[in-house]
Symmetry: D2
Subunit: 223 residues, 4 copies
């Protein structure tokens, strides 16, 4: 998995927090099938609320973009999320026994709100790269987890979930977002952006977002 230069460096800078997220007990439970079904269904319900705010964050990317390319990249993501992913999610939940009315009535958990509103505020207070730095742990983290679990899974219990995030479509999205981040940084800060103070701020944003993702998995374990 190669999701670009900036992601690689931010992931490295996040240190142990990254593994706490990418190798969380929830993730390992998906891998070996030990995750209780109730926890997974609870996660799916919260993920529905998550996707709404995640779409809003990508829409904010359109607002803050500096070029038509950046706008189009964000718009394609928003559109895929709102016109396809949401419907897919509703359909998956339906198969899992959660009717749409129940999804709509989900009470958002604090750990869920914590991540998405942090992302929104990063986008609101910072520039385009800062928004992407806050989004990256989610986008690419799921890609990394999906790819690893596709190779390492010892159970078929959550094979559908793993196939989604480990599959070519999602891996391609991760590469696109990585390229968007790399190009966005170079376009604004030049090729040596990792030597600038703003880089440390971006890494801090990425790391805090990573810790908030740990909280999201943790929430998944406690329906």
């Amino acid at each position: 998995m190669d999701y670009g230069r900036a992601f690689q460096a931010m992931r490295h800078a996040a240190g142990a927090d990254w593994d706490r997220y990418a190798r969380h007990a929830f993730v390992e439970g998906l891998r070996d099938g030990s995750l209780p079904r109730a926890a997974f269904l609870h996660y799916l319900r919260q993920d529905y609320v998550f996707l709404i705010h995640f779409s809003r964050a990508w829409a904010l990317g359109i607002v803050k973009a500096g070029t038509l390319d950046e706008m189009q990249a964000c718009s394609a993501t928003v559109n895929a999320l709102l016109q396809e992913e949401m419907a897919l999610h509703v359909s998956l939940c339906g198969e899992a026994g959660i009717p749409e009315a129940e999804l709509l009535a989900t009470e958002e958990r604090s750990e869920n709100a914590a991540y998405t509103r942090f992302v929104m505020d990063c986008g609101f207070s910072g520039d385009f790269p800062r928004l992407l730095a806050a989004l990256a742990p989610c986008v690419m983290g799921y890609g990394e987890i999906g790819a690893r679990l596709a190779a390492e899974k010892t159970s078929e219990a959550y094979a559908d979930w793993i196939a989604t995030y480990g599959g070519d479509d999602y891996q391609g999205l991760c590469q696109s977002v990585g390229a968007l981040l790399d190009a966005g940084l170079e376009r604004r800060y030049g090729p040596d952006y990792q030597t600038l103070p703003v880089w440390d701020d971006l890494c801090a944003t990425f790391a805090q977002a990573t810790r908030l993702e740990v909280g999201f998995w943790q929430m998944g374990l406690t329906p």
Copy 2:
């Protein structure tokens, strides 16, 4: 043309400002073909910059929407603007003799910035209906002008432009946006929203946006 109940009432409340916009000399010049070609090309160049910020404003609508329906409606508009309209505009300008590089280098005129940034700030400071109230004079105004000119035009000089805005696709968009505004108001403020103080604020926003559109046409006359 029926673009909904709220638009009809806001248009009426805007009084003479509406006619100054919808029957501006630039518009009449499109109708009878008397608009100088240089003015039209100048308008097309500025409109390219306009479409970028107009797309941003609709993206802000996704951010501020209150329901999935509202998000999807705004997202469909953003996507149509960024993935289709921009390409169409570039193509039309190319046919008219303006290469894309020249479009990209267009220096935004103040009258252009005035309208789009006013809309962005309405969206930023107000709620979803306020953003729509600031967008409505542009969306539906072009629809009304296009429909009238399709019926009243005395020259084929600008028949393509008139066919675009007077055509079924664009008229359908105006009806959708009108319905989005009506439903958005009722969903938040109930059926009697026109009796609330917030209605006067919305009408004031609509009227100010209308005056800024007058400025945009006026700019079109002075390349």
Copy 3:
């Protein structure tokens, strides 16, 4: 304690969530002195980070205000927070043995970010009353807790904290914010605003903010 009509109704609508917040174990520990000192110091450190984002939220109120009165009320609060409260907080922490450098280095806990970023996003996506509805549980909740603990405390261990929030200055602030909310609602939605659908949204915002405040107290118990 009379913090106004809207607060009273929102507090009532929040149901049991309000008591979970206003009578949380952390609060009872302040009342009877049983709160471990380490938990209190941990809370003070997090509260430093909180105050920064709380100030940002009130600054957003200036941006979103509809009248000069509203702007001035928010500005007075921001100024008091940034020019006085922050210095007071640093001084109190210093007396408690936390040097300023340590405050600056505090790693923001997720439960802390969750509340403040939720408030920021409410302000960002909604209108002025929605921002106030998200801020109200914090402002008036501390007022209610301070006033009750001033009357019911059985220990002097946290008498300073109780005196701050139960004292006249803070109680006066709560009344001002309550009046700002009442007037802001009437100015926009008329006297019968509690019959409008937007009222339910505002109550939902208030209730979610209240639950996020429960999480903040809970965090205080787990340094």
Copy 4:
């Protein structure tokens, strides 16, 4: 006048646009007293509306600041504007024969909205330095104009206006804002920020804001 390194470089990069603003006919009319009184009163009325949105822009600075210092600097400016300058402006207008009720009823001119909403959107879409780059032409431009006119005026007709902006208080504010901009840039982008691509964007923002200020003066001449 030394308003700092970044301002000096941005002013230089704005080229002839800067002189079109700082030596506009409106300004020369203040200098030699030839500005019609009606134009000045018209300008004062519009300036009242301007100050409201200018205060909002500085409040947005608090929201987007990266350090407590930056927050406090912006907050002090907002507070001075809302608690003092507005009252001073109302008083000056009263002396000039414009009652407060008339100020409140001023219809905002498009050239006025164009500048302030452009600033708001820069702050909204960009980072803290971008907001300051959009504010700088106004803040420091008035400082430069005031200082020059204090030295070069040939009439006492507008001596009060000149004394305000040429005086020590306002000159000190310009130096503070210049230092805030310099420090804000270095803190984020390092000492060589003028070699980065983002610098070109900041200069473009500054130049566009300067052109919008030209429009504001021009509006002043046409009551």
